[in-house]
């Protein structure tokens, strides 16, 4: 016997009917590598949405850690935020070299902790390919979105009240510096909130035909409820839609009867709609990182 013996399962792929081949190609195209999309969605997706690009499985190296990750985006992005925060503190407080060193150490500690957390998330999805057309793939995709959202918020709140950087500030700065920094943050926050309220009042003025008294009273109620706005967001990250919704959310927290006492019945309807919309979008507003987490 000189010929090659071939079993049924030895048929080459090329022997498959075209229809089957096409189906296989389609299934392959619908498979998304979530690991390949992780960094893009955590660090670079503006506006809070999600993007997916069909990823290719990276070839596993022959030795050492499979899919070794270069210096991660987490470190780069977080360090950039940290440098900006440090520069802001320096501009207000005129730090000494020793103060700068101490704050940087605290900052690096926060960044390392974040990078470690994000690495856990990244490894969870490394090499995970899902088919978005089936139920299991959809479930994994939803989980991916939740995880990405979680890490985005971690990044946004990197230097908030719970961070080491914020905790060491009172002991690193002298009392005068700390008072200056606190006052600067407070003033900037008030300025920002006044801007958000002004933009909202402009809309109310157009829609409701407010008179001066009504305008002043509603504006006063909103200004009194200033949230802990994040003031170090870059100008390019100003989400006007989220800002408008935030004002609506704050409006919803004002006693409705008090507002109804200011406006007419007809004026109340559109105003209530703005408040309800803000309230219903609370989790979205929080996810945008407009407001810092502060100690209560």
């Amino acid at each position: 016997m000189g010929g090659v013996v071939r079993g049924e399962d030895d048929r080459a792929v090329d022997d498959l009917p075209p229809a089957i081949l096409q189906l296989q190609e389609q299934r392959q195209a619908n498979r998304i590598d979530l690991g390949e999309n992780f960094d893009q969605n955590v660090f670079h997706q503006a506006g809070g949405g999600f993007s997916l690009t069909p990823g290719r499985r990276r070839p596993s190296p022959t030795g050492g850690d499979a899919d070794q990750v270069p210096e991660s985006s987490a470190l780069m992005v977080a360090r950039k935020l940290g440098d900006a925060r440090l520069a802001q503190i320096d501009s207000v407080c005129d730090l000494t070299a020793a103060q700068r060193r101490k704050l940087r150490l605290a900052m690096e500690s926060d960044i390392r902790r974040l990078a470690e957390d994000i690495e856990v998330g990244r490894r969870k999805y490394q090499g995970l390919r899902v088919n978005l057309n089936d139920q299991e793939g959809q479930r994994k995709w939803q989980q991916f979105q939740q995880d990405v959202q979680h890490y985005r918020q971690r990044l946004q709140s990197l230097f908030d009240a719970e961070s080491l950087l914020t905790k060491v500030l009172p002991t690193t700065l002298d009392s005068e510096q700390y008072a200056r920094l606190t006052a600067d943050i407070a003033a900037r926050r008030s300025c920002r909130w006044r801007g958000l309220v002004a933009a909202a009042m402009l809309k109310f003025d157009d829609l409701l035909g407010l008179d001066q008294r009504q305008y002043d009273e509603i504006e006063k109620l909103l200004l009194e409820r200033e949230p802990a706005l994040r003031v170090d967001r870059p100008a390019t990250h100003q989400d006007l839609n989220a800002q408008q919704l935030l004002v609506g959310l704050v409006l919803s927290e004002i006693d409705a009867q008090r507002l109804q006492g200011i406006v007419s019945v007809r004026q109340w309807q559109p105003l209530a709609q703005v408040a309800n919309q803000g309230k219903s979008m609370k989790s979205y507003i929080e996810a945008q990182g407009l407001v810092e987490k502060v100690h209560k």
């Binding site: 801007g195 829609l207 390019t236």
Partner: protein
């Protein structure tokens, strides 16, 4: 042998016809060709041109008619976007001129609705003509028309109160624009509290009506920048330090609003108040 004679006669006749045909052809070959008269050619061309012109005119009229229908249709749909402004204006009238008679209210409402119809049409015509919205101020137009309708019917002190509310509203819009300018500057240039206060004061002192264009910024980005309020440079630059001034200059070069033209218009955003039955009782 009569059949021979018949054949012969036939042959002779055919030959004779042949001779005659040749003679006729020879005569025709030598006869000059008759040309069409010059007058007839010019007439034909002229008629052709007339026909073409008529067809072109008919096509132009048909296109014009279609355009008018489209404008009318879109203008009809556009009216809803001006109703919020009209309802808000009528609300201010009712608050200040509560003693208007039923007849007066109907006239004022009709004037307001007519203005909305005209405004809607103007917007659509501008869009069809590829014109921007420069100089288009629907709030002022609605107020002007409503005020003109109110004045003959309202008591003097009531009308004065209405006009005061209108002036206060203009002042509020100016104030909001200044606040938004300072906010935008702060986000980009990181101003100190002192700088924010000085720039705000300078803006108020030298305020120009055209600077309300700041209100048209609905969050757009130009070259990765928010639009820079460079129209107010004289109130901003003097209060910046050197590094801020360099950044301000760069920002203006990349995204200065004064370079963009003033094509901002208006945005419909939010639910309108329901029409007030008081106006049509």
């Amino acid at each position: 042998m009569p059949w021979l004679l018949l054949v012969g006669a036939l042959v002779t006749a055919a030959a004779g016809r042949g001779v005659r045909a040749d003679e006729e052809a020879a005569a025709a070959a030598t006869k000059p060709v008759e040309k069409a008269a010059p007058d007839e050619t010019a007439d034909t061309l002229a008629k052709q041109k007339q026909e073409e012109a008529k067809e072109q005119e008919a096509a132009r009229r048909a296109a014009d008619q279609q355009r008018k229908q489209q404008i009318a249709q879109q203008a009809q749909n556009m009216q809803q976007f001006f109703q919020p402004a009209l309802q808000a204006e009528l609300e201010r009238v009712r608050k200040t001129c509560g003693s208007l008679s039923v007849d007066a209210r109907k006239k004022i409402l009709a004037a307001g609705n007519e203005t909305v119809t005209v405004l809607a049409r103007q917007v659509v015509e501008r869009q069809f003509a590829g014109q921007g919205m420069q100089g288009f101020d629907h709030r002022q137009t609605i107020h002007g028309a409503v005020a003109a309708a109110v004045k003959p019917h309202a008591a003097a002190e009531e009308f004065a109160a209405y006009e005061r509310e209108h002036a206060a509203r203009i002042a509020r819009r100016d104030r909001v624009a200044r606040i938004l300018i300072v906010n935008k500057l702060d986000a980009q240039l990181r101003l100190s509290q002192s700088q924010r206060e000085k720039i705000a004061a300078d803006l108020e002192k030298h305020w120009e009506a055209g600077w309300l264009r700041e209100l048209h910024d609905q969050g757009m980005m130009i070259n990765h920048y928010r639009p820079a309020p460079d129209f107010a440079d004289k109130c901003i630059a003097p209060h910046l330090d050197d590094s801020q001034r360099a950044e301000w200059k760069q920002w203006c070069q990349q995204a200065g609003l004064s370079r963009m033209g003033n094509n901002g218009g208006w945005n419909f955003d939010g639910q309108s108040m329901q029409p007030d039955p008081w106006w049509s009782k």
